[in-house]
Amino acid sequence: MKKTLFALAASAAVMLSAGAAQADGHAKTKACFIYIGPTGDFGWTYQHDEGRKAVEAKFGDKVETAYLENVPESAEAQRPIEAFARSGCNIIFTTSFNYMDPTNKAAAKYPDVKFEHATGYKREHPNVSTYSSKFYQGRYVQGQIAAKMSKTGVAGYIASFPIPEVVRGINSFILGAQSVNPDFKLKVVWVSTWFDPPKEADAAKALIDQGVDILTQHTDSTAAMQVAAERGIKAFGQASDMIKFGPKTQLTAIIDDWAPYYIERVKAVMDGTWKQQDVWHGMDHGSVAMAPYTNMPDDVAAMAKKTEESIRDGSFEPFTGPVMKQDGTVWLKDGEKADIGTMLGMNFYVKGVDDKLPQ
C-alpha cells in the first residue's frame, strides 16, 4: 500500500515536473555527479554511481545524468564542476569531502544550478546543500562482531584523513568492540588517500604483521579485503558489499545507499521545490545498511542483528555514556548521549585506540 502510494505520488510529481521543466525551456532535468575515484572501485564511488543509475531508472526519459570520475580533491576540481554547470546540469552532486571549497566557489558563479556536497559542512550560498549518512552506526555493529571474532583481541583500521567523519567511525568501532570485550585494542594506519589500492594493500599488510586478525577500512577500494583474504584473516567491506572480493573473508559490510536521497533531490529540482538543507540520515532511513552477516557463528550474527535493529529503531545510540576519552578523562557520563556539535566536529579518540590522532 505504502509503495503504491509512493509510486502514484512519484508519477504525479513526474508529470507535473515535466510540464514545469518544459516551461522552463529544458526538456529534461540533468543531474550530474563528480566522483573522487573510478566508478569501478567497488566501494565509495561505485555506490554513488549506483545512486545515479537509480535516478535514471526512476525517471527514465525525464532525466539525463552524467558523471566525471577520478576528479582530484584540489583546485583542479573546480573546472569540471563549472564545466558541468555550464553544460546544462540542473543539479550537481560532488561526492567527496574536499570538493567543499570548489563546490561553494562554483555555486557562487552559477546561482541557478543546485549543488549538493556529500560529507561537507560549508553551505556558503543558498544553492548549496550538504548531505551525509551516519556510517558510524554500522561501525558499532562491526566493532561488536570484531570483538567476538578476534583471537588476538586487536583489530586494524585503515584510515584516510583525520576528519570528524573518519574519527567518528573509529570511535564507534572501538566502543562497539569494548561493549563485548573491554580490553579490545584497535590499531590505526593513516594512508592519506581515499583511493589508492596499492597503498591500501600495504597498510593492510602492515597491520596484519602487527598482529591484527580483523581488518576494517575507511578507504574506497577492495584492496584490503583482498589482502585479508590472501592472509586468511577476516575483514569488513566498506561503502559497498565486497563479498565478491572475499567470499570467505567478509564478515559484513556497511553499504551506503544513496539512491533514495538522489531520487528525492532530483525530484525536488523537477518539482521546483528544491531548498537548501543539511541531511544526516542513518539506518532508520535505509541510507546506511548492513550486508548479510557471513563467515561467523550464528550467535555472533544474532547479536549483530539485534544491535543493528536497536540502532535502526532508535532504542540504542552508539555514542551513549559512559565513554572516556583516550586521555582517560570522562567524555560522556553514564547514560548521557553525545550532542550533535561534538559528533560533527569529533577530533579526539575514545579510550582503547592504540594510535595518536594526527593533528
Binding site: N70, E73, S74, A75, P80, R86, S87, S192
Partner: protein, 385 residues
C-alpha cells in the same frame, strides 16, 4: 625479410613544415576510429573534443590556463633539446620550482609586501634550475645518461613534495589533508581580469616564448645552442664548450619549468598541495616537438594540447567517454609527430635477403641519442601519468 631505416639525402623543407599538421590530421583520423570502436559518433565526438570548447569564452579561458605551464616548460625544453641535451625531467623541476617558490609564503605567511611576488617567482626559477643542475652536472662530470637521471629525479621530486605537504608544511587547520596554508594576497599571481581563472602567468609565458625565440634566432647564445646541438665537433672548433652548454641548457630549462611550477602554485592553486604534479612536464615534451622546438610554434602547440585536456572533459560530460580518452589522444599525437619526423628524415626499406649472421652487419643508421630520447619520451607519455 626485414625493415630498415635509411637516411634520406635531404629532408624536404615543405614536409618538415607540414609534418606537425600531417600528424594532427592522422591523430584526428585515429581518434575517429577510436570513437567508432567506443560506439560513439566519430564526427560529432571530434567536434565536441576540438571545436566546441573554442566556441565558449569560459572554455577558451580554461585552455589559456592549461596552456600557460605547458608553454613555459616547453620553451625551456626547446633550448635544451636544440642543444642536444635531453631533459626528460621537467616535471621534477616544475615540482621543485613550485616548492621553492612556496617557501616564502609558507614559512613567512604574514609577510605582505609588493616584493613578495617577484621574489617567489625568482625562487621558483632558482629551485627548478638547481634541480635541473643535478643531471647536468652528472652528465658533464661523469658522462652519465641525462635522460635516465633527469627522469628518475622526477620520482624523487614527487615523493619529496608529497612528503613536505603531508609533513612539515601541512596546514594545521587543514583537517589532515595534504597541503599548505593558503598563500596571502601578496604571494598570489593576480588574475588577468576580475574573477578570472586565467592569471598573469599567461603573460609571463608569452613574454618568455618571444624572449626565447629572440635568443635562439638573434643572439650568439642561440647560435651556440644550435651549432652544438647539430654538430658538437663543429661547435668545439668554434670555441664552444659542450659541457658548459649542458649546464646552461639544464639550468635554463629547469628555471623555466620551475617558473611554470610557481606560477601554477601561486596563480591557480594558491597553496602547495599534493596534486601539483599533473604531468605537465611530460606533456610539455609533446608540446616542444609539436611546436618544432620553435618557441612561437610552441605557443600554438601548447594551445592545441590544452584544448585536448578541456575537450577531453567536455567529451566526458557529453559523450560519456572515459577520462583516459584524452590521454590516448595526447599519446597518439606524440606518436604521429615523431613518426612523421622520422619518415621525413628516413625512408623505410624492406630488405628481402636477410644478411648472413656471421657477416659484418651493415649499419646504414645507428640509432642516435635523439631517437633514444624520443623513445623514452614516448614511454613516459604512454603510461607515465
Amino acid at each position: 625479410m626485414r625493415l630498415e631505416l635509411q637516411k634520406r639525402a635531404g629532408a624536404s623543407t615543405l614536409f618538415s613544415i607540414l609534418s606537425p599538421f600531417i600528424a594532427l590530421v592522422l591523430t584526428l583520423v585515429a581518434g575517429a576510429i577510436m570513437f567508432v570502436i567506443l560506439g560513439k559518433p566519430p564526427l560529432a565526438s571530434l567536434y565536441t573534443y576540438f571545436v566546441e570548447p573554442l566556441s565558449d569564452p569560459w572554455a577558451r579561458e580554461q585552455i589559456l590556463v592549461k596552456a600557460t605551464p605547458l608553454t613555459l616548460i616547453a620553451v625551456g625544453l626547446a633550448v635544451c633539446f636544440r642543444s642536444g641535451n635531453w631533459n626528460i625531467g621537467a616535471e621534477g623541476q616544475y615540482l621543485i620550482g613550485g616548492m621553492f617558490g612556496a617557501m616564502i609564503p609558507v614559512l613567512f605567511n604574514d609577510w605582505n609586501s609588493p616584493i613578495v611576488l617577484p621574489l617567489i617567482l625568482i625562487m621558483g626559477m632558482l629551485g627548478g634550475a638547481l634541480y635541473g643542475l643535478i643531471p647536468a652536472f652528472l652528465k658533464s662530470r661523469f658522462g652519465t645518461n641525462e635522460i635516465l637521471t633527469s627522469l628518475m629525479l622526477v620520482y624523487v621530486a614527487q615523493q619529496f613534495v608529497d612528503w613536505i605537504v603531508r609533513g612539515p608544511w601541512r596546514n594545521p587547520q587543514g583537517m589532515g589533508f595534504p597541503g599548505t596554508k593558503k598563500f596571502n594576497e601578496s604571494a598570489i599571481l593576480p588574475s588577468l581580469w576580475q574573477h578570472a581563472d586565467a592569471h598573469y602567468g599567461a603573460v609571463i609565458a608569452l613574454v618568455a616564448a618571444i624572449g626565447v625565440w629572440f635568443m635562439l634566432a638573434k643572439t650568439t647564445k642561440g647560435f651556440e645552442v644550435t651549432v652544438l646541438g647539430q654538430s658538437p665537433r663543429a661547435g668545439r672548433f668554434a670555441g664552444f664548450s659542450v659541457k658548459n652548454m649542458t649546464i646552461f641548457a639544464f639550468l635554463f630549462s629547469g628555471a623555466m619549468a620551475g617558473l611554470a611550477g610557481i606560477s601554477e602554485v601561486s596563480g591557480s592553486v594558491e597553496k602547495l598541495d599534493d596534486k601539483l604534479s599533473l604531468g605537465y612536464g611530460f606533456t610539455a615534451i609533446i608540446v616542444a616537438f609539436l611546436g618544432r622546438l620553435n618557441p612561437l610554434g610552441i605557443v600554438a602547440a601548447a594551445l592545441v594540447l590544452a584544448l585536448s585536456y578541456i575537450g577531453g572533459e567536455a567529451a566526458q560530460i557529453s559523450l560519456g567517454v572515459s577520462d583516459r580518452a584524452a590521454r590516448v589522444f595526447q599519446g597518439l599525437l606524440l606518436f604521429f609527430v615523431l613518426a612523421c619526423d622520422t619518415l621525413i628524415h628516413y625512408r623505410v626499406r624492406l630488405l628481402r635477403t636477410p644478411k648472413k649472421l656471421s657477416g659484418k652487419t651493415h649499419q646504414p643508421h645507428s640509432p642516435s641519442q635523439v631517437d633514444t630520447a624520443k623513445a623514452k619520451v614516448w614511454n613516459q607519455v604512454g603510461h607515465g601519468n
